[in-house]
Amino acid sequence: MTARTLRRRRYLLDSERFLAPTMMAPAVLYIVALVGFPFVLAILLAFSDATVGNPAFDFVGFKTFSRILDDPVFRRALGNTFWFAVISNVLVVIFATILAKILVADFRGKWLVRFLVLLPWTTPVSLATITWLWTLDSIFSPIDWILRNLGLISDNVYWLGKPGLAMSSVIAVHTWRIVPLAAVIVMAGLTAIPNEVKDAADVDGARFWRKMFAIEIPLLAPIIAVAVLFGFILTVTDISVVFVLTRGGPTHSTQVLASWAFIKGIEGGALSQGAAIALFLFPVLVAVTAVILRLARRREVL
């Protein structure tokens, strides 16, 4: 290697105009090729009549959309997706704030409590749901056994067998698995509250509830918004809870967009319809993110 090429290479390794694009390019190209391109493909598919048997692309305009909109199961799935996410995340905020308060307190055996409390979030969702499938079993549910022995019921509850109960079960499992994540995020916020603020409140004689509602909750609001954002995206886009727990049943009462897109698009082979159903998630995600980021930014945290 001549001195000149060495010097030239040395120059390249120092030049920011060369380095910045070179270091960014692989990651950007990867994302464009495998997120950008499939996203465009999803839109194209939704405007076609492609199936697995005949994947050829024929433009059909909004025909696929009007077809899925006419389907009562789709409308059910759209409503369920929205309400499951909203109700679970309201519950998540309440329980996560309580759990975060518990986890920042000092007590013995904390590592064990922390380990047990994190289980619902760190376990793969489909496996965590498997433990619920058995806990909510139609005959051998231990919850039923407890209720029977307390004399509250005489037979079985059939948690997953009746529409209303099945919907509540799905919401409960979502809440249960997201609370630990939200609690960890809120914990980060709690520990970030400056000590002077806490001391000032103590000096002023503020008690538990006063401190909670006058200081902690207003200061935590932005980070709770971040927790809700993550929680919302995780519930709206999730397929495993519904897929493992109920497969959308009984009679589509727990169907959500993700599971319906899978049943139509992959199991049924109607690629265009599956793609169109899944695309309905996009405006929801964008709207919710915009609202939550604005809320968080107004508080000048993000």
Binding site: R10, L13, D14, L19, A20, M23, M24, P26, A27, L34, V35, P38, A42, L45, P55, I98, L99, I102, V113, F115, L116, L118, L119, T122, T123, P124, S126, L127, A128, I130, T131, W132, W134, I139, F140, P142, W145, W176, V184, M187, A188, T191, A192, V226, I233, D238, I239, F243, V244, A258, A261, I266, A275, A278, L279, L281, F282, L285, T289, V301
Partner: protein, 293 residues
């Protein structure tokens, strides 16, 4: 005399109050732990139960009415594909980790150090990739994988999972790199290293915690991810645990409950332990990425 009584009274009152608070904290902690872990505790009892004990409605579900047995654990480990699923998950996790680090480390460095305002804008753009989740992409992605002829191969997951890990890891590592004083690199460059040399010698060792977080994240993803794995790989030999366990340990209407619950516990416990080790680091990473952006 009266004043003294007041003081003892106040002191006693404070002590009872303190004791009540302690009891309250322990009660709340135990309650939260039981609520969170209930299905797992019940799963742990279940996996050692004999069928003759398990399938009797009147039996106490939380204790062994017949002696416990290892039969179903053995069935899970040696007569099902459970260990194959575990191996597949680890292989995918490893490959995804390598790809993610190779692509997101340089990108994070460029964003944090070389690109100024554009770096911040790109950082926000990366966050928005999060809004196009697998649920939105799995149908077109199934066509991409079919065209590349990767169906039924672990390569399909190895190729696709970095689309999820790269944006988040770049974001996370960017936070870590911003936390390192620029002087360190400048010193290294004064000492005669190029910028790339300074990166590998001065920056890399300092962001080791961030790299560990990326590794944990890649493995967590390859064990959690469901919809891509369900869509791409139908053959038992190439399933990961998230899809393999719920689809293979149920045959028609027959649920192998003990084996299923055993599988859930065997996977859940090590991952939760790992997260416990890194939780504080995770919180730091999260607040650095999201709060200070």
């Amino acid at each position: 005399m009266d004043a003294l009584d007041d003081v003892t009274l106040a002191r006693r009152k404070a002590r009872t109050r303190h004791r009540m608070v302690r009891i309250g904290i322990y009660g709340a902690a135990i309650g939260a732990a039981l609520l969170a872990a209930f299905p797992f505790l019940w799963a742990t009892v279940t996996m050692f139960k004999q069928s003759s004990d398990l399938y009797v409605k009147a039996n106490n579900p939380f204790w062994f009415n017949d002696p416990p047995t290892l039969k179903h654990v053995k069935l899970l480990l040696f007569d099902t594909n459970f260990l194959t699923f575990v191996r597949n998950t680890v292989v995918v996790g490893l490959a995804v980790t390598i790809i993610t680090l190779l692509l997101s480390l340089p990108a994070a460095y460029a964003l944090a150090r070389l690109m100024g305002v554009w770096g911040e804008r790109m950082g926000i753009a990366i966050f928005f990739v999060y809004l196009i989740p697998p649920t939105l992409l799995f149908i077109p992605m199934s066509r991409v994988i079919a065209t590349l002829d990767l169906q039924g191969s672990l390569w399909s997951l190895i190729l696709v999972y970095p689309t999820i890990t790269i944006p988040i890891s770049t974001w996370l590592l960017m936070g870590f790199i911003k936390g390192i004083p620029r002087d360190l690199e400048e010193q290294a460059m004064v000492d005669g290293y190029s910028r790339v040399g300074a990166l590998t010698r001065a920056v890399l060792p300092l962001i080791f915690p961030g790299i560990v977080a990326v590794v944990v994240f890649a493995f967590t993803l390859s064990s959690h991810e469901f919809i891509y794995a369900l869509t791409f790989n139908k053959a038992s030999a190439v399933k990961t645990i998230a899809v393999g366990v719920p689809t293979e340990l149920v045959r028609g209407d027959v649920f192998f409950w003990q084996a299923l619950q055993g599988a859930a516990v065997f996977i859940a416990v090590p991952i939760a332990l790992l997260f416990n080790l890194f939780l504080d680091r995770f919180i730091t990473g999260f607040t650095m990425g999201a709060v200070k952006g």
